[in-house]
């Protein structure tokens, strides 16, 4: 397997940005090239593109399952097109994968294209997956629902400016949350593809347990249960021990449960 740090210019962001990529390698260099299933893996608030690698065994989990992992940087953006800041939603939802597919042997099939993340990253993954059902076949969130809450991003700094204001201004977060709900309901009744959805959270999570259960209730209340939806609570809190322990549950849900190589 290879770990690649790639820097490139994002048109959506208007600047260069860094992204870490875990790429499986075939055991025999003479084997015909193949395209790997791909997972976008999103970081949480106050972290960066390098954090999943540093805090978890993601390189080992993914590469041994033959899955490529793309870890972009989204700063403190809530994976939104910030009103005062970069267009991170557009960057990750629309620009990142086409760029990565130009550089690396990545599957173009939607059922082999996944997005997942933890906390703010889980929220971002659900939001982006729901808004881009033609791109993502499998969507996962560890320790967050599909709505964002103001508790953390709403805190004003010493100048009275909150991340929520920079990102959404007044009422924008509520509008975005409502928009995601509408989008889920319209997907539920559409004939188009629907992403498979995985959510899990620590039963001792003091930060987003209620928020995540609320999203579970929303999915479970949709008549006829059109989504392939899995929800689980496991012992644990809102931390990297939990996310390291359960990212493989998402990969298993996505169909990548077994090691295909030895590392």
């Amino acid at each position: 397997m290879a770990l690649i740090r790639i820097g490139f210019h994002s048109t959506a962001l208007g600047m260069d940005t860094a992204c870490d990529v875990v790429l499986p390698q075939l055991p025999d260099p003479d084997q015909p090239a193949r395209r790997f299933p791909v997972m976008l893996l999103l970081h949480n608030l106050t972290k960066s593109h390098s954090t999943w690698q540093r805090m978890t065994g993601i390189e080992r989990y993914a590469a041994t399952r033959g899955v490529a992992v793309i870890m972009p940087d989204a700063l403190l953006s809530s994976y939104a097109d910030m009103i005062h800041g970069g267009s991170y939603f557009t960057y990750i939802a629309d620009e990142l994968l086409p760029v990565m597919r130009r550089f690396f042997p990545l599957s173009e099939k939607r059922e082999e294209t996944m997005i997942c993340g933890a906390s703010m990253g889980g929220y971002g993954a659900l939001k982006i997956g729901i808004h881009r059902p033609d791109t993502f076949g499998v969507v996962g969130s560890l320790s967050s629902g599909f709505t964002s809450i103001t508790t953390y991003i709403g805190r004003p700094d010493d100048r009275g400016i909150s991340l929520e204001y920079l990102t959404f201004e007044q009422d924008g977060l509520a509008r975005e949350n409502a928009d995601t709900k509408r989008r889920i309901l319209s997907l539920a009744s559409s004939d188009g593809p629907r992403p498979r959805i995985f959510m899990c959270i620590g039963s001792e999570d003091k930060i987003l347990l209620d928020n995540t259960r609320e999203s579970r209730d929303f999915f479970q209340s949709i008549p006829d249960h059109p989504f392939d939806f899995t929800y689980a609570e496991y012992p644990g809190g809102h931390n990297w021990t939990f996310w390291d322990g359960h990212i493989c549950d998402f990969l298993a849900f996505a169909g990548y449960g077994a090691h295909i190589g030895t590392y």
Binding site: G7, D16, T46, T51
Partner: protein
């Protein structure tokens, strides 16, 4: 020579930030002379390495180079956004010296430079954090930020997010004309270097800044030559400004 890719947490920004660092391999008696090298608008902390031979130039002179990430923040504490100025000018030197004890702690060994937006940032940091930086160099710097919003009115909201209302820029902490004026009598007045290409869209602003700080009596080395806003000029000038930085003190001997 070592190249370090560092991801470290900034308390000021409350997030992880990347920086690349070039370090000499042999220790220097008083620590390594250190250049903070700032990128331009639309680039990131990797730009200097990718577009120039900065590592070779640093190796030839035995100095350390720290290349921080400044996003699109103009090295300001943004009116609506993150506090990039406080991160780069105040927090980063502390983080770097804590993490890399080979760096000199001395003001005379600590310098800052950049291109375009980074040239502005370098002058701003040197003028407003002179206890840390003794010398600053600007290559094709965007030095007259009050003129920027009018030059690109399409991005009106962006400029407001960075600098606040345009009419408030003059005289503010982001106005390096005003900062130079208020530092004019200070013993910590930085030594300055400027270069700009004569075909650069920022040439006029560079002339205005040159005249301003010359009139204030700053120690300024000003150079210009045919050229526009391009990396080939900045790469060509970089070894020259490193030599200029290393002259510090010699002229007083």
């Amino acid at each position: 020579m070592a190249l370090l890719h560092i991801d470290s947490f900034s308390t000021t920004l409350n997030t992880e930030m990347e920086l690349d660092v070039i370090l000499p391999e042999t220790r220097a008696q008083n620590g390594w002379k250190t250049l903070y090298l700032l990128h331009g608008m639309g680039d990131d902390h990797t730009a200097w390495q990718r577009r120039t031979s900065v590592e070779r130039y640093a190796l030839e002179r035995g100095i350390a180079v720290i290349m921080p990430e400044g996003h699109m923040g103009w090295y300001t504490d943004m009116a609506l956004g993150l506090k990039y100025y406080s991160y780069i000018a105040v927090e980063l030197p502390k983080i770097a010296r804590q993490m890399l004890p080979g760096l000199s702690l001395r003001r005379e060994d600590t310098w800052i430079a950049g291109n375009s937006m980074g040239g502005y940032g370098a002058f701003k940091c040197a003028l407003t954090a002179p206890e840390t930086f003794s010398q600053a160099a600007s290559l094709s710097g965007a030095l007259d930020v009050a003129a920027l919003p009018a030059s690109s009115p399409v991005n009106a909201r962006y400029w407001r997010d960075v600098f606040g209302p345009t009419e408030d820029i003059n005289g503010s902490a982001n106005d390096i004309f005003a900062q130079a004026s208020s530092m004019r009598a200070s013993a910590l007045r930085p030594r300055m270097y400027m270069w700009c290409g004569t075909e650069d869209f920022l040439y006029g602003a560079n002339l205005r800044y040159r005249d301003h700080i010359r009139a204030l009596g700053y120690s300024l080395t000003y150079e210009e030559s045919p050229g526009d806003h391009q990396w080939k000029h900045w790469d060509a000038k970089l070894p020259h400004i490193l030599d200029w930085f290393m002259e510090y003190g010699k002229e007083d001997e």
